[in-house]
């Protein structure tokens, strides 16, 4: 677990269409790379949302860096962000 890449996903309540697309994408990626990823999903505002100064959902934070905000990335973009953080 210690070596896994932390991926934090922030979604709105109720879920927006971009958030639903993002969750579909994350499930696909988890099925392929779940052994290397620690995916944590937050719904609604919380202290982490404030900590990262997020202003829009959906958002993705990889390795404590905000990578995407207010948009659902395509798989290629998400994979690029994950590979920058060490995904094999």
């Amino acid at each position: 677990m210690a070596n896994k890449i932390k991926v934090e996903v922030f979604l709105s309540v109720p879920a927006c269409s971009g958030g639903m697309s993002l969750m579909r994408l994350m499930k696909e990626i988890e099925s392929e790379y779940g052994d290397q990823l620690d995916i944590q999903v937050s719904r609604g505002r919380n202290e982490l949302y404030e900590k990262y100064n997020l202003t829009a959902a959906p958002a993705v934070v990889v390795g404590d860096l905000v990578r995407m905000m207010g948009v659902c990335p395509d798989k290629e973009s998400m994979m690029a962000a994950l590979k920058e953080c060490g995904l094999d």
Partner: protein, 86 residues
């Protein structure tokens, strides 16, 4: 009076931000003829479940779902309101 309920998420996505601004614009434009109800975040959940919506942003006009999962253009929203009797 036509009733337009606008449901959006919190934290907001760009579409939710845009649709709330559009709702304010239309409330002003059709004052006296259009009742606009904005439901954001957890306050939207009861109606979200009542209408069996799948995602936001959403627009419900006279209790009929017209738009779901996108922020419409002004033209599209005008059309939906006309369909709703405005």
């Amino acid at each position: 009076m036509v009733k337009m309920e606008v449901l959006s998420g919190d934290p907001p996505c760009p579409g939710c931000v845009a649709i709330l601004a559009l709702a304010d614009e239309f409330a002003e434009k059709y004052k006296g003829r259009l009742e606009v109800v904005k439901l954001v975040g957890s306050e939207a959940i009861p109606k979200f479940e009542q209408y069996k919506l799948g995602c936001v942003p959403a627009v419900v006009i006279n209790e009929k779902i017209r738009i779901e999962g996108i922020c419409p253009t002004r033209k599209m929203l005008e059309s939906a309101l006309r369909e709703g009797g405005l």
